[in-house]
Symmetry: C2
DNA sequence: TATTAGTCTATCTTTTTTATAGGTTTTATG
DNA sequence: CATAAAACCTATAAAAAAGATAGACTAATA
């Protein structure tokens, strides 16, 4: 399961994407709209900003906004940033690989093989679907 | 990511499957072979037994054994038992569903839709692949 | 210069994960 | 029948991660 942090991030990003034309959006607005603790959300948005996904403006009229159009922000990127590996096992992770401590040879491990396929099938979706694809359907 | 508990369970089950013809297998043998803490493994095997996946025999000559042939034990079943939901979000889980607290209507939520697809693609593999499919390739 | 709104860092609480300890029960066997 | 072997059971502890909050700081605007 994705952490609350990542779930909140998705909902916040959706809100930002659905209001791209309205300039910077307040943290407090997102928090209220999406029913998220404002202080917790603050940290999340900051992390997204430091990763280059969001931009921000301080002071009156300030807030957060997307740095790129929604269709260019892949879901996989958000998950990896806030949640870490998408794979079910460290030994099949592309970005957070760790050697398996419980088997002799990953090259002939059937678990490694199957979990690799699960990873691929998830990535096929998560690398190609973007913020644009998760907007609320009218 | 799967918990260590689930990872250990898979490795233990593989060992049992690869030795089906040898009668009951000692916890200590599995622990040593797969490099797992024996006491932790004890709890895991007991849980698998209580779920009807393993059988056991006490006393000398005792140990654990599979209750069904490896090809009848789906990977999804093990994950759900020890790790819980396979889905990335509670609101798309088939077995551990929880209503989304952050969106107004799941029926029109794009995140819900995409994550449902991720779940389906993972389940297509995990429901159909069995212990037999994760044995070490000769 | 007052107000607004994001920034930063630290801390705290709760939950989950991982692991260990130690006694109990069952079974085989000499 | 005594002994040893091995699983069973329950509790607890230690560590890590998740979730949440606090408060002072900085920048921008009017």
């Amino acid at each position: 399961m994705l952490s609350k942090k990542t779930q909140y991030a998705f909902h916040a990003l959706v809100h930002l994407a659905e209001n791209v034309d309205k300039g910077p959006i307040l943290i407090s607005e997102i928090a209220q709209e999406k029913n998220i603790s404002i202080k917790f959300l603050e940290n999340i948005l900051l992390e997204l900003k430091n990763a280059g996904i969001l931009g921000s403006k301080k002071g009156k009229g300030g807030g957060y906004y997307l740095m790129r159009p929604p269709k260019e922000i892949a879901l996989a990127k958000i998950i990896r940033l806030l949640d870490g590996p998408i794979a079910l096992l460290p030994c099949v992770s592309l970005n957070y690989y760790e050697r398996c401590e419980n088997c002799r040879d990953e090259a002939v491990c059937g678990l490694n093989e199957v979990m690799g396929k699960v990873r691929d099938s998830a990535l096929k979706i998560l690398e190609n679907k973007t913020l644009k694809d998760i907007l609320t359907r009218s």
